[in-house]
Structure formats: C-alpha cells, structure tokens
Subunit: 472 residues, 4 copies
C-alpha cells in the first residue's frame, strides 16, 4: 500500500504535492518524498517518517530553490509518494520517489502496487551487470527502462509489458509526466484539474484538500502522458484490459471514507456493506457498535438495516502512536486501550452486535472481544463486513502468510468458539459482489482465484516472504 500524487504546471507544485501527500498519509506512514522538475533538472527530497516530519517547510523551500524557474510561466511540475513497506523492507534506499539518470535523462518514479515477478527480474538484471541499491521491486522498473533503446514513451510501454502484478505508476522527467495503471486496475489512480494544472492522485480525498476537481480514473492498461511544455495530455493503451481486478480491500478497509474510489464514495460503499450484512445476518440485541474506524459506516448501515440502535462503544484516542511503555502484566488490554477505550457504562449487561471490517489473524478481534466481555457485556455478536480471508494477497496488501490467516485454519463455527462469541457472521461473497460489482473486483484473498496470467505465474505460488509494514 502506498499513495501517489502528481501535479503539472503550477508555481506551487511542490507545496500542493505536500498537501496531497498529507491527505494520503493513511496509505503509508513509513516514508514520504517529493520529486519536482523545472523542465531542466529533476530534484527529490524524501525520508523516513510522516509527511509532517519529512517534508518540513525548510525542506520544501530548499527543494524549490534548487529548481530555478526556467520558463516564462514560472511553472514547476512534481510527483510525490507515501510508502507502506510491502516488499523490500524498510531500507532507506527504498524510499520513493526513486531517482536515477536513465540514459542521459533524469527520471523520478513513484509506484503503488507489487510486482509479482520481481525476483526473476532482479536475478536477470544483476547477472547482466546492473547495480541494484535497494531491495524494493520499484527499482527494477528504472533498470528495465535504462536498458531499452527507443523513444521514452515506447520504452515505458515495453517495460510495463514485462511487469506481472499490480502497479500504478507516476514517472517524471524534465519534459513529461507519465501516469499508468496495470491492465487489471488493482490500485486506484485518478485524474483531476486545478486551474490549468493536471493533478493525479491515488484517492480523491487529496483532490478535495488541494481544491482540485476530479475528472476520471486512469484506466487499466492506459498510459497518460502530459507534455510539460505544451500542457497537453494524451492517452494511449499499452495493454488490453484483462478483466477488471479492483482490490476489494481498498473499499473495505484501506481507502479514506471521504474518497471516491472507482466512482464510488467509500463511506457509502461501507454503509452498503453494513446494510447488506444487516440484511444477511440480523440478530436480536440491545444495540450495534463499531470497531473504529472502517467499522463505523458499516455499523450505521447495519443499524439502519436491522432497526437496532447505534452506540459508540469505543472512543478512539487522537494522540495514539508514540508511547513506548509496555503494559504491566495485570493490564493485558493495554495495547487496545491505548488506541480504543471502551465505555463501560455503555457495555455492561448489554447484548451487543460488534461490527468489524475484516478478520485477518484474529488476534486483534480476540483482544477486543475479551475486553468487552471483561467489562460485562451480556452477549457479543460479531458481524464482519467482508468474507473470511483465506489466501494471501500478491498485489500490494501486506496480508500474512497463508498459515497465519485464521480463516484458513478455522471455519466460522470454530472461529465463533475460539472468539467465545454468542454468534458470528461474515458478509457473504455474494453480498460483497452485490455491493462492489462481482465482475470488476479482485477477491482473491477470499477465494484464492487470481487472474489467469498470475495463476500461471503462481502455478507454484511463492512462499509469501515475511515482510514488514501494514499488519492487517
């Protein structure tokens, strides 16, 4: 999971990219970076940490000063990236945007997704004399570009054809900004306008903050090229659409609720999932409550579908994040409470429907439910806004290995016992399809059905490596 942002033809391109990344911070807290061009050179600033830590005012000023204005219109162009380590670990060399001289052209690149055939590409490149700095798959794309001998746009197409997996990319040179999305459209990337500037972002919440108007998605298999001199946008297809495979988890958990994702407002999608869940698995109870945050609109939908009252059972701590102190032994709910404090007066002696967006390892769910039980809940009914996750993701969501997925090891009935629930229900695959669109959605983590090319590639699917980052 990562976030991309780009903008052309704006004197404040760098500042606006900073804001865009700030709006996309939920897509990656591990590193942040900006690359910009004055149509002559390309400069980057990036580092480990949050946008607010890495891209401070003086960093932006320094970055801007390194790019003296070349054109009459005083325009800069820039791209930015926030990173959640999916592949490649936390090494500094993996911080994006990556920068390199490709042939004799300076190129910056920002990537959201996961290249499934990275290991094979890496081995081949190294064997033929390429120097790899980091461990992330993104760097491979730059090396592949440097080895093509043609028009830069054609080279991008040729390289894209060699990549198997999920990728949305922004590529900045002194003359062009390129944006492309793989043929299956796993990860979102949208286009907007702000005055005479073109804007690109992973999610539309970034457009809202900078005041841009969303125009459309970049389509799967589409390469959008913006000529920085003429401000002209052109589009070409580098691949057939392979059958849409939009990531269900973006809608269920990852994207911000105020974003429009593939033309759907995420908040509404989650409300609809909760409503559908309510229709599917109603239960008698005193009230419905959510595990924040993704569960909140789901709980609203569930309450509306079932007529049950809605309550806030957990209060989220806005200052969470940096306490180093470990819990003392008598306080096993410490980790949860640091983030989500339950309201005992609400919970005690009540029959409660708890709504969570998903269950991955099951450890968080177990602690949360134990805590509610400890506070005196009379009955606990868990309703989950997505089907059981049984298979790892190869497309950029950092799910654990197969054996660590609890729904791989237990069916619903066993899981209900394990979590000591009075009842447990997941959203049905049918229900999910009804809300998200059955044909357009990648549900491989629920079903194990990958797309054709990948299934082939994964005939013998690689043991999922232990990676750092988002622990679902």
């Amino acid at each position: 999971m990562c976030g991309l942002f780009g903008i052309t033809h704006n004197e404040q391109a760098i500042e606006i990219t900073h804001l865009g990344l700030f709006a996309l911070q939920h897509r990656g807290q591990e590193s942040a970076g900006i690359a910009a061009t004055n149509e002559k050179s390309v400069t980057t600033h990036s580092g480990s940490g949050l946008v607010s830590d890495v891209l401070k005012e003086n960093n932006l000023i320094t970055l801007k000063q390194s790019l003296p204005i070349q054109n009459e219109n005083r325009h800069l162009h820039s791209i930015g990236h926030v990173r959640y380590a999916t592949a490649g670990g936390r090494h500094e060399e993996n911080i994006q945007p990556l920068f390199a001289q490709v042939k004799h052209t300076p190129v910056a690149l920002a990537h959201n997704g996961n290249i499934v055939n990275a290991d094979a590409l890496r081995f081949e490149l190294q064997s033929t004399g390429a120097l790899l700095r980091g461990t992330a798959d993104t760097e491979l794309i730059l090396h592949l570009l440097a080895r093509e001998n043609g028009d830069f746009e054609k080279n991008i197409e040729r390289v894209a054809a060699k990549l198997v997996g999920a990728f949305s990319l922004l590529i900045l040179t002194p003359t062009h900004l390129y944006a492309l999305v793989d043929a299956y459209g796993y990860r979102p990337l949208s286009l907007a306008s702000l005055g005479t500037s073109w804007v690109l972002a992973s999610e539309s919440c970034a457009f809202d903050l900078v005041g841009a108007k969303r125009l459309r998605d970049v389509e799967p298999g589409e390469l959008v090229t913006i000529d920085l001199k003429t401000n002209q946008l052109s589009s070409r297809r580098f691949a057939e659409i392979g059958g849409l495979k939009r990531c269900a988890f973006e809608s269920i958990y990852f994207a911000r609720p105020d974003s429009k994702l593939w033309s759907q407002t995420v908040e509404h999608t989650r409300f609809a999932l909760g409503y559908q869940l309510g229709k599917e698995s109603k239960v008698d109870a005193d009230f419905v409550m959510a595990v924040p945050d993704s569960g909140v609109p789901m709980a609203m939908g569930f309450a509306e579908a079932t007529g049950l009252p809605l309550r806030q059972g957990f209060i989220r701590n806005h200052y969470v994040g940096r306490t180093f102190i470990e819990p003392t032994s008598e306080n096993r709910f410490f980790r949860v409470r640091l983030k989500l404090n339950p309201i005992e007066a609400t919970i005690r002696n009540k029959k409660i429907v708890v709504i969570d967006d998903s269950v991955v390892r099951g450890t968080t769910a177990r602690t949360v439910l134990d805590l509610l039980r400890e506070l005196g809940a009379k009955q606990l009914h868990l309703r989950v806004g997505s089907p059981p996750i049984k298979f790892p993701c190869y497309f950029g969501i950092d799910t654990p290995q197969k054996k660590d997925l609890i729904s791989q090891r237990m069916n619903v009935s066993k899981l209900q016992d394990y979590l000591k629930l009075d009842s447990l229900a997941f959203l049905s695959e049918h229900g999910l399809g009804a809300v998200l669109g059955k044909l357009d959605t990648c549900t491989s983590c629920f079903t194990g059905r990958y797309n054709d090319a990948l299934s082939q590639q994964l005939g013998n699917p690689p043991q999922k490596a232990q990676t750092e980052g988002l622990q679902l």
Copy 2:
C-alpha cells in the same frame, strides 16, 4: 484547562504517571511534566509540547535514576500535569509541575483551574520581596505556602482559604501527597486504587488506561492527604461546600467521552443533551450529521429522539496538526478541510440537520456551514447542544472576551441569518439543567451568574486579558 494525575506507592509510579498524562492529553497540549519522590528528594522533568515529545523513554529513565530507592518496598510516588495555557501565557517558567524549596522542604505542585484574585495576590507578594519567575497564577500558591509558619497541612488549608476561583491541586512532598478541590468543585478530580497504590486523575479515562479502579470524586472543599510512609489516606474539610458549581463545559465539550465525570459517563451525557435537543427542536430533514468529535454522541441522541437517519458528513483526518502551508486564495475552506473533510456525495441535494456542541465566536460554525452549502446541501438546520454563550469564563475555560462572543452580539434569529441557516436552535437552559443537574452546575457562561463570593470580587469584573491557548 489542564490535566492532573498522581499515584503513590508504586515502583512504576513514573511510568504510570506518563500513561495517565497520555490519557489526559486532550486536556492540554502545550506542556507536560512529571514530579516524583523517593521519600527523600523530589525531582521533576517537564517541557513544552505533547506528552510523547516531552516525556520520552530516556527522560523517564533519567528521572527514575535520579531517585534512588530509599525504602524496602521500592516505592516511588509521583504527580503529573498537562497544560493548556489559560492564564500566564506560554512562558517556560509556567510549565508544571512547579517545583520549589518551601521553607526547607522540596515541594512540587500541579494545578488545574484559574485563580481569580491572582493580580492582587501577585502585587502584594512582589511588594514584600518575593521573587516571581513566571506569569502564571500557580506560582503564587507556592509563595503563599512559603510564607505560612505552621504544620504543612494546615498551611495548605490557610492558603486555600486565600484563593478565589477554581482550583484542583496535587501537591507532592517527600512525605505526603495532597489533593484538594475548591469549595465549589469547578474542576473534576477523582480518586482510584491500583493494587496498593492510590491514584488521582482529572478524568477517569486515565484510570482505565493504567488499569486503576475508580473509587470516588475528591469533594469540593476536601483536602485528601496520603501519608507516603504509611500509605494511609485521610481526609479533612477546609471549606464548606459553597453550592456546587461543576463546569458545564467539561461535560459539553472538554472531557473525553469515555470518562466518568462527577459519576456521569460523558458520552451518555452528550447523548442525553442531543436527545433533549431533538425533543426540543425537531425539524424535518433527510438526515442528522455531527461536527466531530463532541457532536457525535449528540447527533446520535438527536437522531434517536427524532427518528431521523444518522450519517457521517465529515471525516476527521487522523494526522492533522502540523501542516504549515497556508491555503491558496481559491481554497478558503482549506483550514476546515485539513481537519474535517466533508463527503460531497452524502451532502449534495440533501436537507441536513447539523449538530455542534457549542457556538463561541461563530467563525468556525460559519466556515463549516458555508462549506456544506458549497457542496450542494439543499437545506441546513443547525442544532447546538448547549445554550448561547454570552459571558466569559473566569474559572479556567479560555473563552474570549465578552465582545467576541457572537451570542453576546446577536440573538438567535440574527445569528440564523448571519449563518445563512434554514433554521437554528440552541439547547434551552432548562434542557441543559435537566441533563446536567440544575443546582450543581456552573452555567455562568450562559447566564452571567457567578457564585456569590466571585460576584463580589467581580463587582467590577476585570477586563478579560488576551490569553493564549484553547480558542473555543
């Protein structure tokens, strides 16, 4: 507004105080500090900024190492403070807990409240040779203590009798921890137990995080004394209860919803205020939405009272805080959007009831409502979970001067026009009393009726000084 925490008889007193302050962070982000004793000396560490910035792991280790264990039981005792500058500005000297040698005893003091007769006390102290370091009223208490010549406990009582205003205090010496609340009980302070330790905190959410069990409030006019040697808690009254004056704003806005405040869970109080508001001023609309966060339980109550659906119209950004970039001119809603992004698809073309907890200056309300209107809201009905604020607070809430309170300048009808609303209603004073308890609550900011002693003192009420800090 400030937050207090204290604990006795615990090897991990310092670490637990750190956690307690972390849970009370919402009561003050300007500074944080801890004072601790090993029954021999008293040491403090404090600084400007958030708990997580000021009280880092190595700071706590250093603090602990400066207090070698003196007793068999390896016990430390400590108090902590988070600060919202109400009086005294941001000077470093005002950071609490304050520390001084009082006679020949080391004393640390943490204060929540506001001393109304501070100017007179300060003038007299300086005229008679006292050296004042900071500008905050808290320091005066230490000087007054140093000039008494008796038993320390008696001295505290004598000094408390000289203070006019609102104060909850924790005082730590090598032999005792003292806790007291002024005779009117403006600010909350509660007592809990954790194993054999006594725990004190402004709000019970701090007890939850550290695993302590809430016992009761420290009563108005009560001085609680804990003997650090014997672990014995004793209580005496230093003043008659003057008629309870619990701050209504703690319940409406300031306290954390998961806290028990004067035996009431705040979330429930806010739900009840919203429910009462719904009963009082129902309106036909498509749905109810809140201005987060205090408005959320109020909106739930309003929805339940009126039968209207509930929606999330705003999404709060969890990373807010440190973006330095100013909005470009075309983006006047930038400041709001940085914190609260509205969901256009929810709002467009809808008749909406917006619930806010209070209206102080009116500037935030205006921007928020303009933004909703800009996004295409068909009708906007504002319902406010408290009565109009017409008078400044002298008891620790940093409301602006009288002339800057919009309800001082406009009646409800004029304000409705000014905010371009389809309808506007505040909670009635009667309704507020019904929920909070008519006799026990300080409602002076709504009514201008202060308590007797203060009204006398304020016969010619001081021009409210321009202070920094919480801008309601």
Copy 3:
C-alpha cells in the same frame, strides 16, 4: 569559572553579545545565555551546552523580535553568560543570566565567582519564606536584592556588602546596566568602547572579536552604573579595596593567552613564568616540549632561558569532545591520545624536559608521562609553571578537596618518584610573585593564606563539597 559579557546602546547588542560569549567559551562550556532589554522589558534566552548550540540564529532572532524597539535610536542593551558549574551543580535552574521580577522591576543577573557564605544566606532566606528554585549561589543575590527597600543602586551596594567571596557581576534592568567586582578583585572584568556603546567582558579577547577598544578594568570594590537612557557611565565605590587578590590561576591556566588580564597579556605572563622556571631549574636535555595548551608559551620561555631546542611532542586533536567509545583494555593511553597524540619519532631515545602549567591531582601528569616513557623517552624531566597546589580554592576555581591534591600528600621528592621522573621542579613561590606581582595576587591555593575576612569566615573552613564541573 564563568564568562561575562555586556553591551549597551547598540542595535546589534544581542548579536555582539553572542560573539562576545563565543570568544569567552573557554571560561564555561556547560551553559550559555543572553538577557536583553529594549528599555521596557527584559527577555532572556539560555540553555545547556555550547554557545553555538544554545544561541542559534533563530534563537537570537526570536529574542530580538520579543523586544520591539522603543527608542528613536533603535538601541538594545544586553548581557550574556557562559557557565562552568562551580557551585550548584548542573541543574537547569542555575543557567544564567538569571531573571526575576525584583519588586516590580524585571532584573537579569550574570555572575562570575563564588559566594563563600552562601549556605548561611540560603538558610536564612528559606526560613523567612523565600522560594529558591536552583542550587546555585547566584540566585541568592536576587533574593537579597528583592528584600531591600531603597534605591536600586543603593540596594546593590547593601547586598554586595553581605556577600563574602569572589564575585564579578553584571545586572541589567530596563533602565540601567550595573557592573561590579568584589573588594579583592579575584575575578577579572574589563571595560571597553565600541562606537558609542559601552562594552564589558571578563577577558579582552572578547573585545578583539567584536572590534571594541579596551579602556580599563572595573576596579575591586567599584560599582559601574550605565544609564541606558542617557548613555552616561558613572562610578562609585561600595567597598575599600581589601588588598588585591587577583587569582593566579587565571594567568597560569584559565584565561585565553591572547587576553589582556589586569593589564598584562596572558601569553607574555606565561612566557615569563616559563622563562623564570628555566632560570630556576635548568637541566641538561635534548629538547623542551609542552603539554598543550597553557604549557606552550611556558615551554617557549623555558627554551629561551635555557638555550634548549623547542619541539612539539604532542599534537592536539581539533575535533576532540564527543567520542563516546571507551578504551579497550590494551589501550590505557586512549583518553590522553584522543586529545593529545604524541609523536613517537620525536620522543624515542631522547632526554626531554616536559613543561606543564600545574599539577593538581597528578593523574593526568602520570598518564602523560607514562605514555612518553612507553614511546621510548630516555629521560623525562618535568618542570611545572606554578608552585605545588596544596589547598582548595574557595573563590571560583573548581579544585578538588584537600585530600585529593597530590602536593598535599607528597613533597616534591616523593612526587618525583611517584611520577617516575628523572627530575622534577616546580616554579618557586618567589618566582611566581616576581612575575605576577607579589602583593596583588591570590596565591591561597599554594599557601593556604586566605584574606582576613575569609580566614575568619573559614576559621573552621567548610569541607569542600563535591561539585561538578572543571576538574583541574
């Protein structure tokens, strides 16, 4: 040991004070601070660490901005301080300049010296209700000032009369800058002019850096008063000169060689001490070398008096200071070598006269000599540019307790054996007097003869407390 700097009537008073402190950095590396006035209020900035760490550009800008220009001439006035903890330890509260409201006047104070009767003064102040923040003797002066009831200038005189010990002081109020030196003149303080500004500094090297012209010393028992409005300097005597007691150690070790101290250039004084030493205790050898830095001019003088060649046997590392790594066991000379690397090719097989400025504990001398011996020196003759130190200093030099002074425990002959020397000689007391002036110099650390008032005070001299700071 500390350094003082002050300047009046200068738009760049703060920047110039920063430079002055930078030139005086050798007098104290523990903390640094500046206080300034715009003739209305007084503001300070200070902190732990070097001038370059504490007084960064943005700190000075902030300090300046807090003092909006009040007068036509755009003048500011300021004092500064660098600190070597002699009494009071390293507590933050002891960082100078100290600031307080004295009566209703803001006062900043900077102090170089040591108050011998501090304990008695402290006890009395605390017993009568004064609140002491720090542990340093400087704070007492402010409290004493606050308890006087007269004209401020008279109050300073009255307080000065109560202080026993060594003190040079700068006191800044919105209307005046005061400078005074105790009746014995233990510590230096000089006056200079820079354009229309008056400048004060502990050493003249600070005048050189800021381009000021040295005028004269502030005399013992003199109170210099500069009226900030009129720019007029006046002088009065608050005490008879008690017989000059200029600290010999300033000349021998502490002051910078390029400073003029009591009208003598320190480099020349040290050369003369070395020359005298050469006359007194010539020895046959291959060459003379110094233990840097104070020993260098002494070695030059010794070489010239004896006709022996001069060599650099040690090279000083300019980057010393912050390496944290401890020596491995096989490398017992690590600590010395980190700072002073000997040149083996110079030393091996040679008969060497080593010049050091003084011997206090004897530990450094022993390691240095062992290292030279290990590198193959054939003979080692130590010549010391001052007499044996047998008594502790009560006037601001942080010598150890009596029992830790090696010359207290061993006579010269025993010490020669202990240090495994071929010969050892100290400068004679007579020789010291011949160079420094017999009557004007405090030689109590060599002779144990304090001045009359102090001998009385010290009839039963206090056990020297273990203090932090300069370890001679």
Copy 4:
C-alpha cells in the same frame, strides 16, 4: 581529500573503525560512514556531517545488531570513510562507503583520490543502460566491477587498469577485504596490525588512537587481499609502479603532523621544510611566528636555522566552526579573528617573519598580513614553506582553477607588492625536492608536469570544474 580506515577479525571492528575515522576527521568533514560484514551480509551507516554527528552510539549499536555473529570467533570486519567533496558535490548519494549488489555479491567501497577519466567512463556507462545515482566518480568503479565477468579479484585488477588518476581504495565483501593504491601512489594508505586483526588507514595517526602497530605502506600498484575466513593476507601487483608521484601537499598541509606518511613523520618533514626555508631566505627580524597549524613546525625549523626567537603571534580558537553571524562593516578582520586572534602586545612595533605553509588564492594571506600591519607590526616578512602554486591539481586536492591561483598571475616580486610585504620568499623547488625526495613526489601543482599517462590524457586538459569542498 578523504580518509579511509579498515579492520578485519575484531569483535569491536565497528567501534574501532569509528575511532579510526575520528582520528582521520581532518581529511574530510563533509560526510562519514561505516560498512561492516559478519561474513554473510554487508550493512552500512553513513550521513552528512562530522564523525561525532553521524556515527553516534546508537547508530553503531543498530549497525552492529543488524549483523548477527555468524562465526565462532565473533568477528566482524569493517571499513570506513570520511569525505571532503572533491568531485561530485555534496549530494547525499555520494556519501561513502558506497554500497551495491555487484552481480549477486554485496559490496561496499571507500575511495580516496580523483578519477581523471570519470566523464568518459560515466558517458559510456550511461549509454549502455547503467543507472547512476550520484555524481561522484567513486560510483563508476562499482558499475565497472558489475560489468566484469570473472573472479572478483581479477575483476578489481581489470577495473583498476581502466581508471586514470589517483586512487586508494578499500573494498569489503562478505568474504574479503581488498585494499589497493594506484600505480603512482598519489594518496597514502598504510597497513598495521592490532592483535590478530589487520588494520588499514590513510594515515598512521589512526593506528595510534586504536593502538595498532604500523607495518608498512600499501605499495603503488599493489592489491592487498585479506581472506576474512582464514585471516590470511596476500598481495599481488596489478600494475608496474609508474614512477612514484606522492602528493607533496599531503606533507606540506593536509596530513596530521603526528602521522607517519610514506615512512616520514609529517611534523619532522615540516620542520625540515622550515629549516630549509630558513637556510634559503634568512632575514633580519625580531622574531619568527607561524600561521597555525601547518606553519608551526615550519616556524620552529626556520627559527632554529636562523637563530631568530620564536613567538606565538596568533592564538587559535578551539571552538571555531559554527558561528553564523556576519561581521559588521567596521570589523573586516572578523573572519580571521574568529579562528586566529593575534596578540597585539607581541606584534606592535616588531619586525616579524611570518611563516605560512603555502599561498593558493592569496586572499587569506592578504587578510592575515593586513591584520598584523593594523596591529602595528613594523616590518613583515613572509616566508612560505612550499614553492608558488601555479597549476591546478587533478589528483584529489581541491585547488581552484588556474586563473584563481595568485602565483599564476603574479611573480614573487609583484606578489610582494600586492601583499605590501617588506620581503617575500617561497621555498625553492630544489629545496622541496631535497626534503621530500625529488623523484618520488608529485609536484605538478608547482611545475605543471603531470605523469606521462596523464599528460597524454590531459593533452587538452579539462577546464577544472568548480567544485565544492576544501578551499585551499
């Protein structure tokens, strides 16, 4: 100019490398870094700034923890680098040791010197698909290595053969540490032992600090290979010695005086240069003084050759470095005085011989001499410890372009007038050769005679680019 350090077979390899770099800090203050291996992987830590800023204790601990011990003997092996930007500017990507996967082997590389044919190599590499990250010549070596297809040791030889210019290199892999010096031996690199560890360093002062025993120089054209498993050192020649070209400037100015450089102690070399200078150009004067630091032993030698007394005319400020404040107009000597304060009492009315190590641009000399004249020097005679510099350096000393070398524009007589001197003399080329060894020394900056291969390469010598870094 840069500094190299390496050590094998030591549990404390990382800590010792830190110390070694600390001792070599004078060879580069711009960046510092360490690479280490546990015989399995290679990890680096590096950054901009001084050793004490970049390599803090926790950085070393983290680095060490990233390398779990693989072998029984608990050995680590490591190399380090401090950098003075000569070519490539200050970009972060140029900080060394550089790291890359070369084929499938992790490789770290540290480089001291300057590759003259870097532009041609860079162009060719980029044209054939290599991705270059930084702008420094060092990176090219890694790319060249990655394109060879043979035994790693052979590959190093083949690559070394392609490099024209000055280079001393350390290369670390999980199995070997390689050290090599170009065929002309421009830059020093020595070998030592510490217990069972092999140690390599640019200068022997690093051996002294870590307690290692110097064995010999790495010879020009020699490749030293240390097998990390067996601890066996082997040596082979990759090139004929091209006629030694040891950099004269290392001896004159750059190296630390306590280092043994090419078997000569630098302090002694400088003394000898000063002595020779005294023989060549004696003058009648009151005394000799140095411009510190390199001038000090030269002044000693000059004094001894001429019989003139020696004095310290300048005192060096030990805290120099970080003052940001610009001089006020009346103080044009500020920059000099910040670093070197002259002693007026020494200088006034005296006939003085001033010894400086070299004159490059002439600007520093002019300011220093003007300052002495301003302080009342009666006569000023400048004696320079090296011949006039008339040609730029292509081998790693960052001299300016030809036109900025003052001796290119003025002969000695004109320069004497320009500097307003009573007399001026440089060391003769003959005298330099007599001290340094005529045949072994690169004197191209004095004579313009480069070695054969380079003269060919430089038939049309490249316009010296404006680079950052050491401004002689």
